[in-house]
């Protein structure tokens, strides 16, 4: 259902300010599943492959550790959203996933209609898997299609082929998940404009209600960064900008509205966990390398599997570090998170300070940002970081 019909039915548009602001109060949980068949060359997430001791024999022990970590958490909740990220959450059998969802339900409770989402690789995802995962309590699935061009998938080091992605989407839609998301990556060296246009078309035509599109980024310490250092082509920011512009132009016809730099949804299908994060909402992270944000403190877990398991099994917190911001720091952070959204953020103190600087005035004059009715919005999402760098440090 596209915009007008949805509004008529009382569902706010994905980029509505009231949705963006309400998300601040939502509570969510993040569960990290680090297991992957292999490491993609661009990936710098906390990942363990079978060769690195992350084979299926480890799954039950890891899930047990997650349950222990959840069990030890203070009373909180109920949860509006749960997001399983990775790694490859779909590597875990549905039964294991179900154990975790049940534990979260037990410990914190889930609101009615809570979003329970997981990331899945197309090659792991059959109709049978989809059905079992849905039965385990999941309402949303995010499929890592990345591209529908075999050459691009090859360049990205992905194991699946385009037809796997199409079949996976069909399976997810058939089983009846409330929301199906497709992840795309743009600007892979070698990807032509035509290849990208075709990937976009296939994603939009597939019937998914949510789309995330990320520019390929060279992260330190990855195989990709080593290749680039050795002379391989790096992603071209102008090509990426063209790709983004193309998607931005094509998405509305499929009923998708951009509500954040990299996210598009049909009304009623925004990602609750995502919106809560950008609204500076609170979340608890469980598992390897997971992050939490609660009571003004941001915490992160250790990134090594053996260390994580040992710590949790000894009854210790697997925490690797934490950060507590000053109230001025939080105000600055509120703006730098909020400005990623199409709805922007209430200007507040940080916004007023920015607008009072010469740089802020230049950004307004050049049409990169605007302030209207007390909200600051970035009109050119691809230049968001250029805006964020100008937010003055708060006294």
């Amino acid at each position: 259902m596209t915009g007008p019909g949805a509004v008529a039915a009382g569902v706010p548009s994905p980029d509505a300010a009231e949705l963006a602001d309400a998300a601040q109060a939502w509570r969510s949980a993040y569960v990290h599943v680090p297991f992957c068949h292999r490491r993609c060359p661009y990936c710098d997430f906390a990942v363990v492959t079978p060769e690195e001791g992350g084979g299926p024999d480890r799954f039950p022990r890891y899930v047990d550790a997650l349950l222990a970590e959840i069990d030890r958490e203070k009373e909180w909740g109920p949860l509006d959203a749960v997001n399983f990220g990775g790694g490859t959450p779909s590597r875990l059998p549905a039964a294991e996933l179900g154990r975790i969802v049940a534990a979260l339900q037990d410990q914190f409770g889930l609101v009615e209609d809570a979003e329970v989402s997981l990331e899945a690789n197309p090659e792991d995802w059959t109709e049978a898997t989809a059905a079992a995962v849905a039965a385990a309590g999941f309402t949303r699935v995010s499929l890592g299609a990345q591209s529908f061009d075999p050459a691009v998938l090859e360049a990205l080091g992905r194991r699946h082929r385009p037809e796997h992605a199409t079949a996976a989407i069909d399976a997810a839609l058939a089983v009846g998940f409330r929301t199906v998301n497709v992840d795309l990556i743009y600007g892979t060296p070698g990807e032509s404009a035509a290849s990208w246009a075709s990937s976009v078309e296939r994603a939009l035509d597939s019937g998914v209600q949510h789309l995330s599109a990320y520019a390929l980024t060279v992260e330190r310490g990855t195989a990709l960064s080593r290749a680039v250092a050795a002379g391989a082509a790096a992603p071209d920011p102008d090509v990426q900008a063209d790709a983004y512009d193309h998607l931005e132009a094509a998405a509305p016809a499929a009923g998708l509205v951009r509500y954040e730099v990299s996210n598009w949804a049909r009304p009623g299908h925004v990602c609750v966990y995502n919106l809560a994060t950008w609204a500076q909402g609170e979340y608890l992270g469980f598992g390897l390398g997971a992050h939490s944000h609660r009571d003004g403190t941001r915490r992160r877990n250790v990134r090594r599997l053996d260390v994580y398991l040992e710590r949790v099994e000894r009854g210790e917190r697997p925490e690797a570090g934490r950060e507590r911001l000053t109230s001025a720091g939080r105000e600055q952070e509120r703006l730098f998170l909020g400005l990623r959204r199409a709805a922007g953020a209430v200007s507040g103190e940080a916004g007023s300070t920015l607008l009072a600087t010469a740089a802020g005035r230049r950004l307004v004059a050049s049409g990169v940002i605007e302030e209207r009715e007390g909200r600051l919005r970035v009109l050119r999402p691809l230049l968001t970081d250029a805006v964020l760098r100008e937010i003055p440090d708060q006294a």
Partner: protein, 608 residues
């Protein structure tokens, strides 16, 4: 704790004052280290490399920038105790002024030559300085332990320059210590003891000074006549400054206070004077009780060869920059500066330097020792503009060049250049010199394999990258020395650079007409690479007298955002942004355009 003052002055006959002079990298600091160690000035356990190079920068770069003095106590083969004052000197061509100053305080010089490299341009230049100053020279071959050492060949080169016989040359390995004892004996037996009038009025030469934040100005002095006593009221004859001598002493190398310094002695003088312009290097110190009637022959004021604007990135730091320059000048008499205003960069100083290395070092010291963030503009030489009314004005900055209408002609400084190179590279060196508008002078074969070439080259042509080019064309074998010659008329114009349509004075340069187009084209191309993309298209243009000769465009940034934040890792994203913000602070806003500091210098180091 300070040592108690020692009473006795040293008998002139038991003093030897000497410098070690050498081409850069020929092992001067290592030989000095060995002498200190052998005479017990530094215990072996306290020994570290480059003992006399106290500045961090000197140790990092492995060079000597500042002169330094240390007293070595040596018992010679004749059974007598001698005081050997070693006055350390820099080796780089930029600092030859420091060398000549140090030589004024000596009777002898140890001329050090790397036995694997042979005589180099600064070896010769320094040797001539020593001979002109009337010093006794002890030639020394260093690094004889190296497998690549060719002592016979290098001895032949040395004898060709200095005359004498092979037996005069001492072979040393500072690394193994071989020959160091012979060198010490030669210093005692071959160098003359200082003269000077013991009974006359006090005259002491200030050959260096530095600023100590507790003690004020500290002078390195060489007593020529009479005695300098602690507690005496002293006067600096050139500036007229008067103050009590709070403390006199010698450096071993730690300061050791003494009651007095007698004729021929080298030591330090602390007066508590804090005003740095009142104590000038080259001045004569006398006692007010019995003043000398005439000062010693001082030095010529050092002549800056290269000028550049220094501007604080943060305009509020202007006063701090002034204070820092004032303090630095005390350690570095060759540094000159005056306030300058740039439309692009605000308030700063136009500074004069001895050369590019000197310029780099001053800038680095200002940033490190005084915690300043600076933008340096392209270096320029001092031109002279001849005007229609017959007058002549100095042009130290491209902005000083008068309008074409008022201008009759412009002349530029020319230097006499000496290059020593293996003969196989003569062709490529000549080609380079020709490209730089050089004129060939004499050519002398030191040996069949090594040639000494003389040229006259416009200074502007050698200050940027001539030395690098020379080195790369000769696989590092050629060496270079130069000295000012005269001024010569040339067809010179000002090349302006416009950023976003606005001329940026800091990017202007004075260039030869024949080169203007290529230089302009290279400049705008380089700036397009160096200046990050902004929120809008930025045209970069090169112009002469309002006529655009080259243009490039820095395209507007289109993508500047992280697509994703991983698993709620907000901290990481914030830290990344904070680092990027820090990077922005090192940019200078020029009109509406953010320009990185490096662009101001790097843009001029271009390959046309």
């Amino acid at each position: 704790m300070r040592n108690p003052p020692q009473v006795a002055m040293t008998d002139q006959a038991r003093i030897r004052n000497f410098s070690i002079i050498a081409h850069i990298d020929h092992g001067k600091s290592t030989v000095a280290d060995r002498l200190l160690e052998r005479t017990g000035a530094v215990a072996s356990r306290d020994m570290r490399e480059q003992v006399l190079d106290t500045m961090d920068l000197e140790r990092e770069r492995g060079i000597t920038i500042k002169a330094n003095a240390v007293r070595l106590e040596y018992r010679a083969a004749d059974g007598e105790a001698y005081a050997l004052n070693l006055i350390d000197t820099p080796g780089h061509v930029d600092f030859s002024y420091e060398v000549s100053r140090s030589l004024e305080a000596c009777e002898g010089a140890v001329l050090l030559v790397d036995a694997s490299q042979g005589v180099e341009a600064q070896t010769l230049a320094n040797a001539y300085l020593a001979i002109e100053a009337g010093l006794e020279v002890i030639p020394v071959l260093n690094k004889i332990d190296l497998p690549a050492a060719e002592p016979e060949r290098v001895e032949a080169e040395l004898l060709g320059i200095l005359g004498g016989k092979p037996a005069d040359i001492i072979r040393v390995s500072a690394k193994t210590g071989e020959g160091v004892d012979e060198l010490l004996e030669a210093i005692v037996t071959r160098l003359p003891a200082p003269g000077g009038d013991t009974a006359g009025p006090t005259r002491a030469l200030v050959f260096d000074s530095y600023y100590d934040s507790y003690r004020g100005v500290v002078c390195h002095v060489r007593i020529v006549d009479g005695t300098l006593r602690s507690g005496d009221m002293v006067r600096f004859m050139a500036t007229g400054a008067q103050a009590p001598a709070d403390e006199v002493g010698v450096r071993r190398p730690a300061p050791v206070p003494r009651d007095a310094l007698g004729p021929g002695e080298v030591g330090y003088l602390m007066t508590g004077i804090k005003e740095i312009d009142r104590v000038r290097v080259g001045d004569t110190v006398t006692s007010t009780a019995r003043p000398a009637s005439r000062p010693l022959t001082g030095y010529l004021e050092p002549k800056p060869m290269v000028f550049s604007g220094l501007f604080p990135t943060d305009g509020d730091d202007f006063e701090r920059l002034r204070e820092a320059l004032d303090k630095l000048r005390l350690n570095d008499a060759s540094l000159v500066y005056q306030p300058e205003t740039s439309r692009a960069l605000g308030f700063g100083f136009r500074c004069g330097f001895l050369g590019l290395l000197h310029m780099e070092i001053v800038r680095e010291r200002l940033e490190r020792e005084y915690d300043l963030d600076l933008v340096a503009t392209a270096p320029s030489v001092e031109y002279r503009a001849h005007l229609a009314d017959g007058s002549e004005v100095p042009v130290r900055s491209p902005q000083d060049l008068p309008d074409l209408a008022a201008l009759v002609s412009v002349s530029e400084p020319v230097v006499k250049v000496m290059i020593i190179t293996p003969s196989e590279y003569v062709g490529t060196v000549m080609e380079l010199v020709q490209q730089r508008r050089g004129e060939m002078g004499e050519m002398t074969y030191l040996t069949p394999e090594r040639v000494e070439l003389h040229y006259r080259i416009p200074l502007a042509e050698i200050v940027f990258d001539f030395f690098d080019q020379l080195k790369s064309r000769t696989r590092g074998y050629a060496s270079l020395d130069y000295e000012p010659a005269d001024y010569r008329q040339a067809k010179l114009v000002r090349l302006d650079i416009l950023l976003n349509g606005v001329p940026v004075d800091a990017f202007s340069s004075i260039v030869h007409t024949d080169r203007a187009y290529r230089r302009g084209k290279a400049m705008v191309e380089r700036l397009r690479e160096l200046i990050p993309r902004q929120l809008f298209d930025v045209p970069v243009q090169a112009a002469i007298g309002g006529r655009i000769i080259a243009r490039e465009t820095i395209k507007a940034a289109r993508k500047d955002v992280l697509a994703k934040c991983y698993g709620g890792d907000i901290t990481r994203k914030r830290k990344l942004l904070e680092r990027q913000k820090e990077g922005k602070k090192r940019m200078k806003m020029v009109g509406q355009v953010e320009v990185p500091q490096e662009a101001f210098i790097a843009a001029l180091r271009i390959d046309e």
